[in-house]
């Protein structure tokens, strides 16, 4: 070959050509797969909301077609978005708010955050599904908490996470942990109308209506869930007409 393969000019040219080709290929691929990927993410979000509402089991939802889930979702779910004081923000669609991105974008100032809510209506009964996001050990955690028609008692939860440790923090996404929220009565407000939220505590529950046992060995993830759940209901409780300082 006439070209000197070890010259700097050749090396640089080779690198530039290679990177340009690879970059162009990936850009084309990413753009063309984007709609299919977004459909998957949206579908999962609908599954979580419907599962939290307790109307469907997660396994059944996973077996359903996307179009079917989307149809049920549109029929039975109403959407609202509130500001921190519980006033409705007009013209916003709850489904368009990515709760994790919204949490990250407003992490220094929760007062400008938008608070989406989904209302599930079936057979005259209503459930209020509240999405929330927080920080786990390795990345974001998020969840959907369904309140019953008294707008206070938890009737279902679904949590998920980006990359918590399997067997430890990742347990928040397992049924055993999520059942803690519904096996005994958990309430956001006390009977006297004081706001508690849900705390995650170690070493036994002192206030069983407003507390959940932490996961052993997953302190930081448990704390993250607590920090997410304790103040997280305030804007919604305000929207429901409670006085909260």
């Amino acid at each position: 070959m006439a070209v000197n393969k070890n010259s700097i000019g050749y090396t640089v040219t080779f690198a530039i050509v290679l990177v340009t080709i690879c970059g162009a290929l990936l850009a084309t691929l990413a753009t063309s797969l984007k709609p299919a990927q977004k459909a998957n993410v949206d579908n999962e979000k609908r599954q979580f909301i419907l599962a939290a509402a307790g109307a469907y089991k997660m396994e059944d939802l996973k077996a359903m077609e996307k179009a079917e889930i989307s149809k049920i979702f549109d029929e039975k779910i109403a959407q609202n978005v509130f500001d921190v004081n519980g006033n409705e923000i007009e013209g916003e669609k709850a489904f368009n708010i990515d709760i994790v991105k919204e949490f990250k974008a407003t992490k220094n100032d929760a007062s400008i955050r938008k608070y989406p809510m989904y209302t599930f209506k079936d057979a005259g009964k209503e459930k209020y599904i509240i999405p929330m996001a927080g920080n786990g050990l390795w990345g974001p955690i998020w969840g959907y908490i369904a309140l019953g028609s008294d707008k206070n008692t938890i009737e279902g939860v679904v949590f998920d996470h980006k990359g918590e440790t399997p067997g430890l923090g990742a347990k928040i996404a397992e049924q055993t942990f999520q059942d803690l929220f519904t096996s005994t009565t958990k309430k956001i407000m006390s009977d006297e109308g004081k706001y508690y939220g849900i705390k995650v505590v170690k070493g036994g529950l002192k206030n069983p209506n407003h507390e959940i046992d932490a996961i052993a060995g997953a302190t930081i993830t448990s704390n993250g869930v607590g920090e997410m759940l304790e103040p997280g209901f305030k804007p919604y409780m305000r929207a429901f007409g409670n006085e909260i300082k």
Partner: protein, 218 residues
Amino acid sequence: MSTQKESLFSKKNMKLIKDPLNDSNPISIQVLGICSALAITIMLENAFVMSMSVLFVLIMANVVVSLIRNLIPDKIRIIVQLVIVATLVITVDQILKAYVYEVSKQLSVFVGLIITNCIIMGRLEAFALGNKPGPAFLDAIGNAFGYTWILLVVGFVREVFGSGSVWGIKFIPDSWLIDNGGFYEHNGLMLLSPIALFLVASVIWVQRSKNRKLIEEN
């Protein structure tokens, strides 16, 4: 050209496929790519998708690197290999996210980590750089299947004893479980990564007792 075609399936070339399945298996003999073998073998389906991802990346990378082996400047050859592997891995990752979302969530970071899988870098550096695309293709198939069969064995054992299912299909009825008043309990250890280490070690043990020339002298 015809001589090259003929020699593609010659005895020497078939060795490229057979050896990595047994005598120079990337996992059990060379002990490479262990990290992913431990992490994603809880379910057979995950192990299979992971294996197919590695198969795709390894074949494409081996062939591409072999095709341009005479053009790659020596000074940046590792970087060039990395760029090619990374491009392929991101391709796989994007496709999984679009078409098998559930599995891609479970494989999480491990698809991305194929980039650093020693089996791939090892084959590129040791084989593709010095051989024609045909043999490089066979070498990739051999090594990828050497990786695959171990992952599938480990995945099968872990799923059967850990979850009582094969490929997601349960064969142990819920009524057998102690929780439901039965007599059976799934082995929780099977769901944790360390057990894969024991299983891979068992494979190595069985393999070496059957194939005595693999046992080291000392």
